[in-house]
């Protein structure tokens, strides 16, 4: 792997060599490293896969360019030049030990940072509002609605409109908005799909929101970034953007092969353990088509009932789950 990165980076560097801007070559090196060699999953927002991540990536390079060109470079060059020219023993430069103030330089020292911060503030004010995770994305097609619940140490995705649920895979149609509501059934967690955009906390007894979109079909790394215990580092999932037809087929497949989303299933999910451990409990001889776990019969009121039950520290009402009879089927 390292070898392939090296060779690609040389190529990329060469490609950028004709361009003058220093930032661009920096960008190239970084991009190569960031896009990595993992072709199956997109890791980074610097290789953006959706409108939010694209905006973040552009914002990132803009801020990097401004700060490196206007702040870092002059300071670096200036410090080296001053330290050398006025080194002890230098004979060609003037030594003025009592030189303590020079108004124009003072105006410069305050003026430069003030100007840059004012400019960045305008940028921040506009972009923060525009790309607020709560703000629904405008689109001609309707949004896919998913409810996300953090458990120790896996994410449960409930599709209230489709009546299905999944652990380990967040499938959704590409090219249209994905609207999520999030909560936690346990400690505080942070839901994150870097290649698509922002992360947001999921907290017990509270609901947060997140709006993302994928430009085209693909697999993206999804994770929890807030430390939550032993299995934290394995709390990953695949966010998979599909064509509408593929998504419909996926839903059908889940409906056909999923485990009933009943009290037994929920108890197993609520136990501390990773996705792999959950699979050994729930579906030892799983007929499912990949390493994830799928459920049918998820109710539309489950999410709200769960939030309320955590908030009031009471057990989940039986009406929130599929009836236990389905278990035998």
């Amino acid at each position: 792997m390292p070898k392939s990165i090296m060779s690609v980076s040389v190529l990329q560097m060469h490609g950028c060599g004709s361009q003058q801007a220093v930032t661009l070559s920096v960008q190239c090196v970084a991009l190569v490293l960031l896009s990595g060699c993992n072709s199956t999953e997109h890791l980074s927002f610097l290789n953006p896969q959706g409108p939010i991540a694209t905006a973040q990536s552009e914002h990132f390079w803009l801020v990097v360019a401004i700060l490196f060109i206007l702040i870092a470079l002059p300071v670096f060059i200036g410090t080296v030049w001053i330290a050398w020219r006025y080194r002890y023993g230098a004979t060609k430069s003037k030594y003025v030990p009592r030189w303590k103030i020079f108004k124009p330089l003072e105006y410069f020292s305050w003026g430069i940072p003030i100007t840059i911060v004012i400019f960045l503030s305008i940028l921040v004010w506009e972009d923060t509002e525009r790309f607020d995770p709560y703000r629904p994305l405008t689109s001609s097609t309707p949004a896919t609605h998913v409810q996300v619940i953090g458990y120790d140490w896996k994410w449960l995705f409930v599709y209230p409109e489709q009546g299905i649920a999944s652990v380990g895979m967040l499938a959704f149609p590409a090219g249209q908005p994905l609207t999520m509501e999030l909560t936690s059934a346990t400690v505080m967690q942070s839901f994150f799909i870097p290649a698509l955009g922002s992360q947001i906390y999921a907290m017990g007894g509270m609901v947060t929101q997140l709006n993302l979109q994928a430009d085209r079909p693909g697999r993206f790394l999804g994770e929890n970034t807030m430390y939550s215990g032993d299995g934290f580092h394995q709390q990953k999932f695949a966010a998979v953007a599909m064509t509408q037809a593929d998504f419909d087929a996926w839903v059908q497949q889940v409906r056909a092969t999923g485990i009933p989303f009943d009290a037994t299933a929920l108890n197993a999910i609520a136990m501390q353990g990773t996705k792999a451990q959950l699979r050994t409990v729930l579906a030892p001889a799983a007929p499912a088509f990949d390493s994830n776990i799928y459920f049918t019969g998820a109710k539309a009121n489950f999410f709200t009932d769960l939030v309320m039950s955590v908030m009031d520290d009471k057990p989940l009402p039986s009406t929130a789950l599929a009836p236990a009879i389905t278990k035998g089927q």
Binding site: V96, P97, R98, D312, D313
Partner: protein
């Protein structure tokens, strides 16, 4: 720059001739001043700073209480648990104790007989102890009505704030007893006076905090 040095030399030579102001550039080693007075000043100033820090602690406890006010989670809330009658009497007790401590401070400042000072301090102590007794009785009543801190966020906020003040008053009472002891052993020497001065600040500070508790917690909770 060199002219600056010249100016200094001139200034120095002038000063030598006049023999009145004799100042070197930079630092001068003259006569040593007594620093007893400045130490007393620093001690009292330091205590003010400490009170400022303590006020932040109460501020945090107040903020926590305010944010948890709605979190009763089905257990008794302010209306079921607060009884203004005893609280009002406690408020009067504490305000009076602040007044009596003020009288003690006056007795100390104008060098009245020490017995006056001790008398006022004893009255203050008694008022403080009665206040604490009544407050404990309040808590007992609340417990009996199901108002335990384990019941809800709101009650946690309450018991994180009001008993914090009670603990401070307890500390104040113990300190007061110690000061009476110091008066007995050392008389009214400057250290005892400094101690009383700081205790007075502490006592009035707790009075102010209580006024906030009375208005924000009790009156606010019942409004």
């Amino acid at each position: 720059m060199i002219s600056e040095l010249f100016k200094r030399v001139e200034f120095y030579l002038d000063a030598r001739q006049n023999k009145e102001i004799f100042i070197y550039p930079g630092l001068n080693l003259g006569a040593e001043h007594s620093n007893v007075h400045t130490q007393a000043e620093a001690t009292v100033f330091g205590f003010w700073v400490f009170l400022m820090s303590d006020a932040i602690i109460f501020g945090m406890a107040f903020a926590t209480y305010a944010t948890l006010l709605q979190g009763t989670a089905g257990s008794p809330g302010p209306r079921e648990l607060y009884h203004l009658g005893p609280i009002f009497i406690e408020t009067l007790l504490l305000l009076t104790s602040s007044f009596t401590f003020g009288m003690a401070s006056i007795a100390m400042k104008y060098k009245h007989p020490t017995s006056h000072l001790v008398g006022w301090l004893l009255v203050t102590l008694v008022l403080g102890v009665i206040f604490l007794g009544m407050e404990l009785d309040d808590f007992r009543t609340m417990f009996a009505a199901g108002g335990l801190p384990t019941q809800s966020g709101f009650l946690s906020g309450f018991f994180g704030l009001v008993p914090l003040h009670g603990l401070h008053v307890t500390a104040g009472c113990i300190w007061l007893v110690c000061m009476l002891g110091q008066i007995a052993v050392h008389g009214l020497d400057s250290e005892t006076k400094l101690g009383l001065l700081r205790l007075a600040l502490f006592w009035h500070f707790l009075d102010i905090v209580w006024i906030f508790i009375f208005s924000v917690v009790y009156l606010g909770g019942l409004a």
